[in-house]
């Protein structure tokens, strides 16, 4: 089964702080995604990438940057964290388009106080 590893698993930061969430997948998948999960909103796509150096804007990108440094590694950056970014963040990966399964990591719970 596909392995997607996120770190840290929990993070608390202050308003205005700088946070980086990390994700590594070890299954040679081309596509990687960052989602946030909030009650009542489901899972919403922040950014995604289809290869090293590539970045695509998702549905809720405001306040987030992302970078795909290698095929394995995808980072989500919050440069000026706000309380509205308190959420559960999932990284995911898939190997192709359309009908393929997306594999999720275990999530990072971020709290901005």
């Amino acid at each position: 089964e596909a392995a997607v590893t996120q770190s840290p698993r929990n993070k608390v930061t202050v308003t205005g702080g700088n946070v980086t969430l990390s994700c590594r997948q070890t299954n040679s998948h081309n596509y990687m995604y960052w989602y946030r999960q909030d009650t009542g909103h489901g899972l919403r796509l922040i950014h995604y990438s289809y290869g090293a150096g590539n970045l695509q804007i998702g549905d809720v990108p405001d306040g987030y940057k992302a970078t795909r440094t290698t095929q394995e590694d995808f980072f989500l950056l919050l440069e000026l964290a706000s309380p509205s970014q308190t959420s559960l963040y999932f990284c995911a990966s898939s190997d192709r388009e359309g009908d393929t399964e997306v594999f999720f990591g275990k999530g990072t719970r971020l709290t901005v106080v």
Binding site: N30, Y31, Y33, Y35, G40, H41, G42, L43, R44, L45, Y48, Y50, Q56, G58, D59, F90, S94, R96, E97, G98, D99, T100, E101, V102, F103, F104, G105, K106, G107
Partner: protein, 116 residues
Amino acid sequence: GDSVTQTEGLVTLTEGLPVMLNCTYQTIYSNPFLFWYVQHLNESPRLLLKSFTDNKRTEHQGFHATLHKSSSSFHLQKSSAQLSDSALYYCALSDRHNNAGAKLTFGGGTRLTVRP
């Protein structure tokens, strides 16, 4: 853009009763892919079943769903609920275009609680 609607946020039912979770979608693309993902407590979402064939029933782990393009629906059903079915269920939509990968648009989720 694409959208997915799950009308029930919470569903509570008794073990042994049938399950039906509603899902409708909107997309401009004629060949969407529809998915159901399940997320148990403190776990990550995982694929339950998927379909892209109109009017064909898809089954997995006792659950089934049929994609109906005429009504833009992909409802999840099970004949008899089990306690272990208690989880958060997401309907999701993907379409193939512009190197988007499996860019999933999720519904708001339905939390299913099955009680003894």
